[in-house]
């Protein structure tokens, strides 16, 4: 199934796009999607570590099973604290 993945900030700049379309098997997990992205878009490389994922606007664990039409986003680390 095709999953559309939204990109922001450092990810968006690195890949030069705010959206990826990735093919994964039906019932694929978020972890499988990330692994697929890492292989297909090696330019993301170091930026993937420390990133979280959101599925349908909620933070999601890597074990989350994806479905056609899910809104997935890669969430680079947000700047917390520091004043």
């Amino acid at each position: 199934m095709r999953i559309s993945v939204r990109l922001f900030a450092s990810h968006r700049e690195r890949l030069g796009t705010d959206r990826l379309v990735v093919d994964v098997p039906p019932e694929a997990s978020l972890a499988e999607l990330i692994a697929t992205i890492a292989v297909r878009f090696p330019g993301l490389g170091d930026l993937l570590g420390g990133a979280r994922c959101a599925v349908n606007r909620e933070y999601a664990a890597p074990t989350t099973i994806l479905h056609e039409g899910d809104e997935v986003a890669l969430i680079p680390p947000v700047a917390g604290g520091g004043g």
């Binding site: 900030a9 450092s10 959101a54 947000v78 917390g80």
Partner: protein, 141 residues
């Protein structure tokens, strides 16, 4: 009083109307309204000089997260009216990037809930900032 996300929790791309944020928590039961402004500082944590900050948001999720934080505040402190507006785009030193208002019957809760709100926002709301200065630019992580 209406509590739709669109009214109380907003991501905007224009200067924040802080008075409007405060108006959104107005309630005759309030004895205190605490307001937090996050403003752009002239230097980064590293000490490097900042000329501008650029903010970017996953707007739909950011607004939903802000509403969720407000719900947690209500659960934890009881009666509490919460409104938040975060700005995106390019901001200069001194400009407010976020305004949070909390209205409660008594001031102790207002102070505590307001601090909690900004701490949660910074940890969880999908909004990013890029520091732009004379020595270059960098996403803050």
């Amino acid at each position: 009083m209406a509590t739709e996300i669109g009214q109380r929790f907003q991501v905007v791309d224009h200067p924040i109307d802080a008075e409007d944020v405060v108006r959104r928590v107005r309630d005759p039961g309030n004895g205190a309204v605490c307001v937090f402004y996050g403003v752009v500082r002239d230097h980064a944590l590293s000490g490097r000089q900042t000329s501008f900050l650029e903010y970017e948001a996953y707007r739909e999720m950011a607004e939903a997260k802000m509403a969720e934080i407000a719900e947690d505040i209500r659960r934890r402190w009881g009666i509490a009216h919460v409104a938040m507006t975060h700005r995106v785009g390019r901001l200069g030193v001194g400009e407010p990037s976020v305004v949070i208002a909390v209205g409660t019957p008594h001031r102790k809760q207002a102070f505590e809930a307001c601090e909690y709100a900004i701490d949660r926002l910074k940890a969880e709301v999908p909004i990013w900032k890029k520091e732009i200065g004379p020595d270059g630019e960098e996403w803050v992580e």
